[in-house]
């Protein structure tokens, strides 16, 4: 309490004023967005009384609903695939020595580093060439849409998943795997009962991150989307060009809520490390500790 390291006097006041300014800077736009999503006036920025009409509109709008459905499907599918591939890449880089490992290691970070627009243009060109080849060689007519969006999301999500999983793997001693092998576990059982439960928080965190990134992406998706299908953020982006209405506010609020929920979940999983955590994360912790209960059940029942 009386530690000399603690700020005092004017410093203390200045610091707290500063934090409030930062909070206002962060949250004022969000506050405005939320307030006007309930405004009964077509013009954004003019308060016309409280209404839920725009939320009603969101659920009634057939194009929005189909975009939501595409978004969810793309997010789920790209997450599942990128989690599997990203985790395998992380395992390979952390646990095995092979030729070209360092090059692979460096290249894996590329999608995180390169600008979204570059990635988007790359995808556009790639799909153009790819579809042309499909047409020329197999006489297949494939259009941009659900498939191309999913593939492009997988392409950037693998990197994020493997970075998160690797961080977790690096903190896990290889001796645990040796101990499992020494105790008659096969390589697969070692993975299932020791490695995977240990990296579970990383895998879950990576999955939620991938889900969020996929749901939020506009730039890459815009270039990969086609007449066949489009995602919600891209559709909203299109709507804005035709004028902003509180419908966009309502849609944005719902997207924001979904993203915040996923990011919070992702953070909770990443923070859980098996060495205890904040009470806030107790739910996540119990979810993570299930493998043990499962093993126990198998042994004793």
């Amino acid at each position: 309490m009386s530690s000399t390291v603690q700020p005092r006097g004017t410093t203390k006041i200045a610091l707290s004023v500063h934090s409030w300014l930062v909070y206002i800077f962060f949250f004022a736009p969000i506050f405005v967005l939320i307030v006007f999503s309930f405004s009964d006036d077509r013009n954004v920025g003019r308060w016309g009384g409280f209404t839920l009409e725009w939320y009603q509109g969101f659920f009634d709008h057939s194009q929005i609903q189909s975009a939501v459905w595409v978004s969810v499907r793309v997010a789920l599918l790209s997450t599942v695939i990128s989690v599997v591939l990203g985790t395998l890449a992380a395992l390979a880089l952390e646990r095995f020595k092979f030729r070209g490992r360092q090059v692979f290691d460096a290249l894996l970070y590329l999608p995180i580093i390169i600008p979204d627009v570059t990635m988007a243009v790359m995808m556009l060109l790639f799909f153009a060439e790819f579809f042309e080849l499909l047409e020329a060689w197999f006489n297949l007519d494939w259009q941009k849409g659900f498939g191309s969006i999913t593939i492009s999301h997988i392409a950037f999500n693998i990197s994020f998943v493997s970075v998160v999983v690797r961080a977790r793997l690096a903190g896990m001693s290889e001796v645990l795997e040796e101990a499992a092998l020494d105790l008659y576990a096969t390589r697969w059982k070692t993975f299932r009962y020791v490695t995977f439960p240990q990296i579970m928080p990383g895998v879950a965190g990576g999955a939620l991150l991938a889900l969020t990134l996929s749901l939020d992406d506009v730039v890459v998706t815009q270039f990969a989307a086609g007449p066949g299908a489009t995602t919600l953020p891209v559709f909203v982006f299109g709507l804005i060009r035709r004028g902003v209405t509180p419908l966009i506010n309502a849609t944005s609020v719902l997207m924001l809520a979904a993203s915040v929920f996923l990011v919070a979940l992702s953070l909770a999983f990443q923070q859980f490390s098996g060495r205890g955590g904040r009470p806030l994360l107790r739910g996540a912790r119990e979810a993570v500790s299930t493998p043990n209960n499962q093993i126990k059940k198998e042994i004793y029942q």
């Binding site: 040796e178 059982k189 043990n292």
Partner: protein
């Protein structure tokens, strides 16, 4: 030739572990160099050496966590050199125990049996037995983070012993414990080994630990197995300067072999000293501080050999005193029990350090 005396004891029965010309290379580094070793069934065997001497690599080869580059490794007569760890009848207690942090004590201990598909009823029985063997009753539902260092070590022991391995390997089993607990666990490990009757092979860099616990010790340095023998053989008849220095405190006097029962000390004096090394070999006379005696230069008994020097310092240890005597060609330590009376020279005084023939051994330099 080295360590033959030790290995003879086990030649008439199948060895628990038999290494023949085992070599392990990591790239261009030779970690273990052409090692031959037999460890008898039921033995408590220590692999002793400084860090980086290859002792842990040797242990890991027996466990199957490293594969030998050359040579043969047999476990109870069966070639095992290339078997994976999960196909060998041995279990390991790892240096930092390597308990699975996401499992309770009970599930940790049950792990090996579960992996071997032992029937569930039997698992429950054997886990209970193992837990009571290491006296951990009541802690079954704890996780490793909730245990003390000593308790973790017991869990690691139970987790290995529950599988009834033919050989138990222990990698610096007491290294992570504080001094008092370590001394307590030394006795306990020894008792445990007698109780279960399993061959224990443990790795340590602590010579005192090896002398206290082991039936036999193998001393390694730079990948070479220098000597194998009982603690007494190794302490009293070290094969060379390194072993003499590594095991306990010692004085080493440079000398040359004159005949099979005489050596010439570096000051030119001939003294009796038995060795089977060739005439002219450079050797060292190993005189343990507690076996050296000290008198006034004119009071040396007739059957003693002696050298005369000046007393440089006295270190008071409570139960003993260590005198440092400086000669113009060597420096000697003499350890005397702290008994009342007796000869108590002053610093700076001329003293004779003496010994009888059976107090010394001649070792390769």
């Amino acid at each position: 030739m080295m360590g033959d005396g030790g290995n003879d004891q086990v030649s008439d029965q199948v060895a628990a572990v038999e290494l023949t010309a085992i070599t392990k290379r990591f790239g261009s580094v030779v970690a273990v160099d052409n090692v031959d070793l037999k460890i008898a069934d039921g033995e408590f065997f220590a692999l002793l050496g400084p860090s980086g001497c290859g002792k842990t690599t040797t242990l890991r080869m027996i466990a199957g966590l490293e594969l030998p580059s050359e040579g043969s490794l047999k476990i109870f007569g069966d070639e095992a050199g290339t078997l994976p760890p999960n196909k060998r009848p041995v279990n390991t207690v790892f240096q930092d125990y390597a308990l699975f942090p996401h499992m309770t004590v009970e599930v940790n201990v049950a792990f090996g049996l579960k992996m071997q598909r032992v029937p569930k009823v039997e698992i429950a029985d054997r886990v209970g037995e193992a837990i009571s063997l290491v006296r951990l009753e009541g802690l079954e539902q704890r996780r490793s983070q909730q245990l003390s260092g000593g308790q973790r070590q017991r869990v690691a022991l139970a987790r290995a012993l529950v599988n009834r391995p033919k050989v138990l390997l222990l990698d610096e089993p007491l290294g992570a414990l504080d001094l008092k607990l370590r001394q307590e666990m030394q006795g306990e490990l020894k008792a445990l080994q007698r109780e279960v009757g399993i061959t224990f092979v443990f790795v340590t860099h602590d010579q005192e630990e090896a002398l206290t616990m082991a039936d036999r010790i193998g001393v390694l340095n730079e990948g070479e197995l220098l000597q194998v023998g009982t603690p007494a053989e190794i302490y009293e008849h070290p094969v060379n300067r390194f072993v003499a220095n590594f095991i306990g405190q010692t004085n080493l006097l440079d000398a040359t072999v004159v005949s099979n029962d005489t050596v010439c000390l570096a000051n030119g004096v001939h003294i009796p000293g038995k060795s089977d090394l060739g005439v002219g070999s450079r050797v060292a006379v190993c005189l343990r501080p507690e076996r050296a005696e000290m008198q006034r230069p004119d009071e040396v008994p007739a059957d003693h050999q002696s050298v005369v020097g000046r007393l440089e310092s006295v270190t008071y240890l409570g139960n003993a005193l260590v005198y440092t005597v400086v000669l113009d060609w060597a420096r000697l330590e003499v350890r005397r029990e702290n008994q009342p009376g007796g000869y108590r020279p002053y610093v700076g005084e001329e003293v004779a350090v003496s010994w009888t023939l059976d107090a010394i051994s001649v070792v390769r330099a």
